[in-house]
C-alpha cells in the first residue's frame, strides 16, 4: 500500500504552518503523529497534495498548569499524557484513557491534538474532553479562538475547525480534588476502536452527587456528551435506581452503526454496560 504523491513541508513556526494551510486550502493537511493520517493515505482514503509536518514546532508540546486550568500542547503524545505526573495527580482520567488507545508504538507517535482534531468517531480523547468540558484552541490567519469540545464535532470527520486553522492546544478546567472518574472501553483487541466507551467524572458531597458528567465514544457520528444521563445522577446517592436511569438515558442518545464490532442493538447495549461500569468505578473513587 503506497500513498499518493505529495509535497512535503516542515514549517519552523506556527505562523508559517498557518500560512501553508491558507495557501493550499483543501489540498493541505497537517501531520502530527501521523498514525491516523498515514494509514488513511495508504488506503488512498486521504490524498493530500501538500503535507505540512508539525514536528518542528516545539511550542506545541508540553503540559502546563495555569491557575485552575491545564493546557496541553497539540503535539503532546499519548505516551507523554500517560506518563505525566501532573496529569496523574490532577486529572487522572487522561492517563486512564490514553493507555487504552492503540498500543505502545502508536502512543509514542500519536498526539492529543491529532486525536481530538481528526474528527474520527473512533478516537477516544474527544469524549474524554467533552466529559471534562475542555476547549480547543484554534489559530488561523485572523487570530485565535477557543471552541468548547462539546460544540466542536459536527459529523464524522467534520469539525468546527476551519480549513486554514490549526488546533494548537487543549485547555481544560481542573476537576475538583476528590472527584471520581473512569474511562471504560470495550474493544475486541489491542489496537481496535471501541465497540462502545464511556467517560465519567463524578463529584460527590456528603454522599450526594453534586455534579456528574458523562460522554460516549464511537456510538454516533461524533462523540456524544450525554448531558441528560449525567443530570439523572445529580442530587442522588448514585444508587441502583439512579444508575439505571443514567444508563437508559445514555443508551437513548447512542446511535451506533452496525459494523464488524456488532449490530446496532449490541453496541447500544454495550454503551449501557460501559456507562454503568464507569459510573460505579467513578463512584468508588470519589471522595464522599
Amino acid at each position: 500500500m503506497i500513498p499518493g504523491a505529495f509535497e512535503y513541508h516542515r514549517p519552523a513556526s506556527v505562523d508559517e504552518a498557518i500560512a501553508l494551510l491558507s495557501r493550499h486550502g483543501d489540498e493541505g493537511r497537517v501531520i502530527a503523529g501521523g498514525h491516523s493520517l498515514v494509514p488513511m493515505m495508504k488506503l488512498r482514503l486521504a490524498e493530500p497534495g501538500h503535507l505540512i509536518d508539525l514536528q518542528g514546532l516545539d511550542s506545541l508540546r508540553g503540559i502546563q498548569q495555569a491557575g485552575r486550568c491545564i493546557e496541553i500542547g497539540a503535539m503532546t503524545t499519548q505516551q507523554e499524557v500517560a506518563a505525566s505526573e501532573l496529569l496523574a495527580e490532577v486529572c487522572p482520567i487522561l492517563r486512564e484513557a490514553a493507555l487504552l488507545i492503540a498500543d505502545p508504538q502508536v502512543r509514542y507517535c500519536g498526539t492529543l491534538g491529532g486525536n481530538v482534531a481528526n474528527g474520527d468517531p473512533g478516537n477516544d480523547m474527544p469524549a474524554v474532553m467533552q466529559c471534562l468540558d475542555a476547549s480547543f484552541v484554534l489559530r488561523g490567519p485572523k487570530g485565535e479562538r477557543e471552541v468548547p469540545a462539546r460544540n466542536f464535532y459536527e459529523a464524522a470527520y467534520f469539525t468546527a475547525r476551519a480549513e486554514d486553522e490549526l488546533l494548537t492546544a487543549v485547555s481544560l478546567p481542573i476537576p475538583p480534588a476528590g472527584h471520581g472518574y473512569a474511562y471504560e472501553k470495550l474493544k475486541r483487541k489491542v489496537g481496535d476502536y471501541a465497540t462502545a466507551a464511556a467517560a465519567v467524572v463524578l463529584i460527590m458531597n456528603g454522599g450526594t452527587c453534586e455534579s456528574a458528567s458523562i460522554a460516549l465514544t464511537n456510538v454516533g457520528q461524533t462523540p456524544l456528551f450525554a448531558e441528560a444521563a449525567g443530570q439523572t445522577l445529580v442530587g442522588t446517592k448514585v444508587d441502583e435506581a439512579a444508575v439505571a436511569m443514567a444508563v437508559e438515558a445514555a443508551k437513548g442518545i447512542a446511535e451506533p452503526v452496525a459494523d464488524m464490532r456488532g449490530p446496532e442493538e449490541y453496541r447500544t447495549h454495550v454503551t449501557g454496560v460501559m456507562v454503568r461500569r464507569a459510573v460505579e468505578r467513578a463512584l468508588a473513587r470519589a471522595q464522599a
Binding site: I2, P3, G4, G34, V38, D103, Y108
Partner: protein, 164 residues
C-alpha cells in the same frame, strides 16, 4: 514529485539519501539501505513486525514517512548485536527460550523489547505482555517470547550488578 534530501543515523552510520516524500520509512530501510530486518507485515499499523527504535521510541516504520525521520537516530535489529559480533542478551534470550518459530515477528519483538528494557529494567511478566501488545506473533502463543524477554532482563541485571 521531486525528491528531497534526508539525513539520519541508522545503526550508528550516517545516511544521506534523496527520497520521494511518500516513501515509507520501512521501504527506505529495506529498499535503500538493504536493512531487511524490519518486516512489512500487515501494512496497517497493527502487527509491529516493522518496529524500529527511533530517537528512543519504538515506532512502526510502516506508518512513518522517511522524510519525517530527518535527523533521527534509528536502530534496527541489524544494529542489535554486541560490538564483538556476539548476540545481545535479547537475541540470546529469543534463541535460548525458543522465542520464535517462523521468525517473521522477531525483529519487531526484539526492537520493542529493547526499548521496554531501556525504560524498565525489571518488568513483570504482566508488564512484558502489556508493553509487547503492539506486536503480533502467530506461532508461539507468546509464552516463550515473554520468557525470552525475562531471560534478557535477568542477564542484563546480573551484568549490571557484577559491574557495580
Amino acid at each position: 514529485m521531486s525528491k528531497i534530501p534526508v539525513k539520519m543515523t541508522v545503526n550508528g552510520r550516517a545516511v544521506d539519501e534523496l527520497v520521494e516524500p511518500r516513501l515509507l520509512l520501512v521501504h527506505f530501510l529495506r529498499g535503500k539501505l538493504n536493512l531487511t530486518g524490519p518486516h512489512v507485515g500487515c501494512e496497517t499499523s497493527h502487527c509491529g513486525a516493522c518496529t524500529v527504535d527511533l530517537d528512543g521510541m519504538s515506532v512502526k516504520s510502516c506508518t512513518v514517512f522517511a522524510v519525517q525521520a530527518e535527523g533521527a537516530e534509528i536502530t534496527t535489529v541489524e544494529g542489535m548485536a554486541n560490538a564483538d559480533g556476539s548476540l545481545s542478551a535479547l537475541q540470546e534470550g529469543f534463541m535460548q527460550e525458543h522465542g520464535l518459530q517462523c521468525g517473521y515477528c522477531t525483529p519487531g519483538m526484539i526492537m520493542r523489547a529493547h526499548r521496554l528494557l531501556q525504560e524498565n529494567a525489571n518488568p513483570s511478566d504482566e508488564e512484558i505482555r502489556w508493553e509487547l501488545s503492539g506486536n503480533l506473533c502467530r506461532c508461539t502463543g507468546y509464552q516463550n517470547i515473554v520468557k525470552a524477554v525475562r531471560y534478557a532482563a535477568d542477564k542484563l541485571n546480573a551484568q549490571r550488578e557484577a559491574a557495580e
